[in-house]
Structure formats: C-alpha cells, structure tokens
Amino acid sequence: MSGIRQLFSGRWSFPGVRIPVGERAGLSSTAGFLALVVALFACAPLAAQAGSTVPNAVPPEGTYSGKDVPQPIEFPHDIHAKINGINCMYCHTYARRSKVAGIPPTSKCMGCHSVIATDKPRIKQLTEYWEKREPPHWLKVHDLPDFVHFTHEKHIKRFVFDNPELPVEQVSEVCAFCHGDIKDMTVAKKQKPLTMGFCRSCHEANNGPFDCWKCHK
C-alpha cells in the first residue's frame, strides 16, 4: 500500500512538469478521487507520519488552549480527517483559491451523508437542516482582528504546491501549523495563539515577507 502512496507522491512532485493548481489539489478529478480511496485505506502509514515535520518549512512557535466551541452539530474532525483520511481541502475547498478557507455548504455534507451513516444522531440533525433548507450556524473558532488580513491561498501555495517534497495528501500537517491537531479533535478548538509574534516567528524562520502592509491595511 505504501508503494502505491509513494507512486502518488511521485506523481504530484514530478520534476519539470507543471500541473495546474486546481488539478493537483482537486479531489474532484479522477486522480484526486483515487488519492482519496488510497488515503482511506492507508491509515496505518498516515498514522506513522503524524509526527513527521513538513520539509522546507519551519512551523511557527506557540501554543494556546482555547475554550470549547458549542457548534450546532458536533462535527467530528477526527472521524473525517484522521480515521477516513479525507483531505482538509476536500471540504475547506477555498483554502487554495482565496483568502478564506471556507465552511463547506450543507450540500457538500449531504454529498456523502445521503448514503453514509444516515442512522447516526448527528447525521439526522444534519439531514434536518438540509430538509429545512437552512444552514447550520457554525461558530468561528479561529478569528483574527479586523486589521489583520491573512491569506490562505498564498500560504498553501508556499508550503504545499510550491513544496515538491510535500505530497498534497499531507496538507493537514501544514494546516496544523496554525490550526493545531484538528485531526485529533472532535469539535475544533483553538490550539495556537494566532498572535503577531506567532506569525512573526514563522515569517522570520521561512523568509516570509516583513512589510507591515502585507497583513495590516
């Protein structure tokens, strides 16, 4: 199995070949779907890699212990991202294309959950929202002050797409830089301080931009 994984890793980082961003990351493509299937069955190697660090990157320094966030549905990140190995960017699809990572629409949940685990109480709750045609009012966990403008797409580009040694399947390790081990949580909690010093530690170590007007404007 790990052989197949390596094959895939090789495909993403094939030297000299530029693959369009959407195709490389998109799980909607056939290759992406295959990657999902592989990821589903490759829990063991994934778990072994959990402690590994991202190549060509120094993560920011700092920890924080955030409060529990009472979400309308207790969304289990661990079941989705860890046990089933679904790529973060499958649901948070805007992370690679825009400033915000995006909360998936209920239709995306229903894409799987109209057939999977329909008897579970949380899914019943979800189906209720879906039938009422009403979005669950998710609460924001990682909030920045209004004078800070963080861009997801550029960070994903720098650490994932411009980083040939990191296969796209392991994007969650990059997400974990700022979001902590979401994979091990049920409802997401804030684990990193997200202060300016925290950002700075990473920008300094990775030669990020240092212009005030990059983030504050």
């Binding site: 002050p145 004078f147 300094e204 240092f210 212009d211 005030c212 007007w213 504050h216 404007k217």
Partner: protein, 290 residues
C-alpha cells in the same frame, strides 16, 4: 518589519534625499493628474469615500476641520477680486481645481517624526500608515506640508454608517477607530490583491492590472496611475507604464528639488518639491485662456 528589523534597518529606512534615499524598491507607484482635464466634479472624492471606508463626519465636525476626506478637491480662483460692491459667495468664472491626496513622498516628512514607526516606506514606494501601530501622537500630520493626513478625533464609525449602511463597508481594509491617523494609501488593498493574484499565477504585476478608486472613477481620465520605478532607465526591464511615459514627456525627474526643463510648453510640476519631499504625484498645469 519587527522592532529588531526597524532597529537594524533604521539608517536604511531613514535615509534622506541627499544620501540617495531608500533604494530597495520593487515598484514605485506614482500618479499623474492633468489639471487641464479636471472638471472638479468630485467623482474621485466619492469613489474614495466608498472604497476606503471613509467616515462621513457631519457638517459641524467638518467645520471644525475634522473631515476625513483622503482626497479633496481644492478650489482656486483666477480673479479673487469680484469688483466693487459685488458680494457673492462664489465667483461664476475662473475656478481651477486641484485634487489633493497623499503625495506618497519618497523623502516623506511624516515618516521620521513618528515615535512608533507606524508610518514608514514600503518597498512599493508607498508611504504606509499602520493603524494598529499608531498611537495618535499626530506628529506626522503636523509635519506634513500638504496637510493630507487625517486624525480620528472620535469613533466616527458609530454614526457614519447607520444600519443597513454598514453593509457597504469594504471588508478589505480596516474601519479605523478614534485615536488613529489615516491617509490616502493609493488603494493599497487593490495593489495587494493584484499582487497576490500575480504571485499565485507566478508572474509579475503588469501595468493597468489595477487602479486606485479615484483613477478608475475619473470621468475625464485626468488621472493616470502606474509604476514609475526606473523612470530614468526605461530599458531596465520594468514596464514602460503610461504614467512613467508622462513623467518623461514632461521632463520631471525624481529626487530633485528643482526641475531643469527649458521648454515652457511642458506643463509638469510637483507641489512643494522645493521642500525636498520628492513627491510622486505629477501635476500637469492648467492652460488658461488669457
């Protein structure tokens, strides 16, 4: 730019015009305003208010000089004397208009006086104002010869956008609270968005990809915006922008306190360039019928 960086690079950032100024530019955004084309309609002012979340302060505070217009149109009269016995609020003829916004000086007088380095020069050649760093000492405003910095004496946002008007606020930049200085940024949020887009596509930013709101709105195209880096070395690889072409055409050079042009038909001038501020906004003089 952390504190350590500021301390390390202090001399680099604080270099005067005589020492050659700050030179590590990636871009140098500049502007040309043709006063012959300007009709004084004020569309640019409205555009600026809409784009940059400028507070509407009301008549009384306006009279107190608290207006937050980053871009203002100044009026001048050719014949200030209306003649004997003629009393009028304004004249019917002879008005000329001067749109004034931050001149983004290369040797800005506001920068060295800031006690907390909230205003500094960016590698884009912009004169930046970092709101969350500003402590409201107002030194910069007092040291600006153009009087183009505006101070939030009150929390204007509380009354400026009563619901549902707050929905029109631009999310790409901060809504400033009281105690903070602000000024024209050449619509830095647009510059950054265009630059981010170019970086995502692994290419360089090209001329005309974005415009500040005032330039975009001007109905007579009196304003031209562009990169004027390497103004004097057009072959150096930086795009030969329309703005740079106008600067060259009117023989106005950066880094000078006095221009040496001989041809009286060349209309270009910079405001207060004798003060050694090296402004990056070029005005083209109005041609009058005499």
């Amino acid at each position: 730019m952390s504190l350590e960086n500021i301390l390390t690079d202090w001399s680099r950032y604080r270099k005067g015009l005589e020492q050659g100024g700050f030179h590590d530019y990636e871009h140098m955004w500049g502007m040309v305003i043709d006063l012959d084309k300007c009709t004084g309609c004020g569309a640019c002012v409205v555009a600026c208010y809409a784009e940059n979340n400028l507070a509407v302060v009301g008549k009384d505070r306006f009279a107190d000089g608290h207006a937050m217009h980053w871009l203002r149109i100044e009026r001048y009269w050719d014949e200030p004397d209306l003649g004997e016995g003629r009393v009028a609020e304004y004249q019917h003829h002879g008005a000329s208009f001067l749109p004034m916004h931050c001149q983004q000086c290369n040797a800005a007088t506001c920068e060295p006086v800031c006690p907390v380095a909230a205003t500094y020069h960016t590698p884009d050649g912009l004169n930046a104002q970092v709101y969350n760093r500003c402590i409201g000492s107002r030194y910069c405003s007092n040291n600006c010869p153009y009087r183009l910095r505006y101070f939030n004496f009150f929390s204007y946002y509380e009354s400026s956008w009563p619901a549902p008007l707050h929905m029109q606020l631009n999310p790409d930049l901060t809504v400033r609270d009281k105690g903070v200085m602000e000024k024209c940024t050449f619509c830095v949020q647009r510059i950054r968005a265009a630059k981010d887009k170019a970086q995502m596509e692994d290419r360089k930013l090209t001329d005309g990809e974005f415009q500040p709101a005032c330039v975009q709105t001007c109905p007579t195209s009196a304003m031209t915006f562009g990169d004027i880096l390497d103004l004097h070395n057009p072959g150096k690889g930086v795009e030969n922008t329309r703005a740079a072409a106008l600067w060259r055409k009117h023989e106005v050079e950066l880094g000078k306190t006095r221009q040496t042009k001989q041809d009286p038909d060349l209309r270009g001038y910079r405001i207060f360039e004798g003060l050694n501020t090296d402004p990056k906004v070029l005005f083209l003089e109005r041609v009058r019928e005499v």
